[in-house]
Structures are given as C-alpha cells and as structure tokens.
C-alpha cells in the first residue's frame, strides 16, 4: 500500500513568486514533521533551483511556467521541479572559488553547489521537451 502524499503547484517564471514557493515548501514540510533547521535547508535548495529555472531556463520570461511537486513518503521528502526551457549540465558546478570570483567581480554559480550541499540526493535530466530536477531529503 502506498501512503505517500503529493502536493503540486504550477508557478509563473518570475522572481516575485519565490517567497510564495518558500512558504509552500515550509508549510508542507512542517506538517510532515521536518525540523526547523531541515525546513530552512529545503527552502533554500528549492529557492536556488527555482531561481535557476527563472533566470537560466526561461530568461525571466514570466509568461512561462514550471511545476513543483512535493512527495512525502514515510520519512522521505522528494521534490521534483519540471520546466520546458533551456537545460544545463549540473556536473559543471563545483564549489565556487570565492576569491577568484571576487577578483573578477563574477557572481553566481553558487546555487547548484548549495542545492547539492543542502539536500541528501540530487539528480537532473535535460531532455528535448523538458528538464527535470529531483532532490530528496530524509527527515531526522
């Protein structure tokens, strides 16, 4: 028997929606018993992933939409973000060299590193019709 619970939301690709996405994630993670610290980590990972979609996949085109799905199954939360924009290769992103970036006044490249640091497991697939980012965290 499958006791998983799923929540789903479609979001317009605008940074003004980030706060609402963070609230959506926090509300449900809280209902499912995640600690405040874990909720903070999950919120930040989701925020960074959505920011990347808005900025890179859709180039701030707010007529475009992406979806977020939260699946709670036992102690595990799996999050799936799906967009139909420009894909990227997450393997290219290592821990940013902060000193070098500051010297070159270059910012960015930090989101993917944060997502990988904050979540237990992260996978990404870029296909011709859609890009799917999956990440999970186990409640402690």
């Amino acid at each position: 028997m499958n006791n998983s619970v799923t929540y789903h939301k479609a979001i317009k690709a605008a940074t003004s929606n980030l706060a609402e996405i963070r609230s959506f994630v926090a509300k449900h993670a809280n209902e499912h018993g995640f600690s405040e610290r874990q909720i903070s980590d999950i919120q930040l990972a989701v925020d960074e992933a959505c920011t990347n979609i808005i900025k890179h996949a859709y180039s701030f085109d707010s007529t475009k939409k992406f979806t977020i799905e939260l699946e709670f199954d036992g102690s595990q939360l799996s999050i799936t973000l799906t967009d139909r924009g420009q894909g990227f290769n997450p393997d290219r992103y290592k821990k940013p060299d902060l000193k070098k970036q500051i010297e070159k006044k270059k910012r960015g490249g930090m989101g993917v590193y944060l997502i990988k640091s904050l979540m237990d497991d992260v996978s990404y697939s870029a296909n011709t019709d859609k890009n799917v980012l999956r990440m999970s965290k186990t409640r402690v």
């Binding site: 003004s16 963070r22 960074e48 006044k105 930090m110």
Partner: protein, 117 residues
C-alpha cells in the same frame, strides 16, 4: 513573511545598512542599489547589519561578491554583522568567513574599522 527593506543610518561616521525580511533573487537588486549609491558617493566604510534579516539566498551573497573589490579599492570595506545562525550558515557554506569580516555585533565591526585605520 516580512517584506524586504533596507534602512540606511550613520553610526560614528560609518555607513550602516540595516536589512529586514528576506533577501532573494527578487529583492537583491534593492541591496545592489543601496551599495552602488554609497560607493558612487565615495562612502566606503560600510557595515551591513543583518539583525532583522530572516533569510538569504545566493543572489544576496552575490551582491557582496560583486562590490567588495570596488569598496576595498577606494580604501574601505564592507563588514557584516548580527547574522542569525540560519543566515550565517549560508555564508559559511560558501566560504565567506575567510574573505569577509563577519561579526556578532555591529560595535565589533566599528572597532575593527577603527583598529585597521
């Protein structure tokens, strides 16, 4: 959720930016404007007080990365103070404490400016 805002004040000749609410990819441009305004008027001894900031994403940290060299070039610095644990954790994960002065309290940031000058 608290709306993001920035208040600017002066403390013993130092420029203090008080941050409130949540700093993300949507609100980071406001911080960018505030820093640009200070730098363009040659005000370079800057302390950013995070006491009332509840949340930060990497877009917020990116603003500090983009302007720190400009400020240091004109003889100043951007020092950071009063972060809650959650906010400090993000700076720490990305290695900021080795390259930026981060203090528990604004007064310590002022003292560091004074001892460095």
């Amino acid at each position: 959720m608290k709306t993001f805002k920035i208040e600017h004040r002066n403390n013993h000749g130092f420029e203090i930016l008080d941050l409130y609410g949540e700093l993300d990819a949507h609100t980071a441009s406001q911080l960018e404007e505030s820093l640009k305004n200070l730098i363009s008027s040659q005000k370079s001894n800057i302390i950013v007080n995070f006491r009332e900031l509840d949340y930060i994403a990497s877009a917020g940290l990116g603003v500090f990365m983009a302007y720190i060299e400009d400020v240091r070039t004109i003889g100043g610095d951007i020092k950071l103070s009063n972060m809650n644990d959650k906010v400090y954790n993000v700076f720490d994960l990305l290695g900021f404490p080795t390259l930026y002065d981060i203090f528990d309290d604004e007064k310590q940031a002022i003292n560091k400016f004074l001892s460095d000058s």
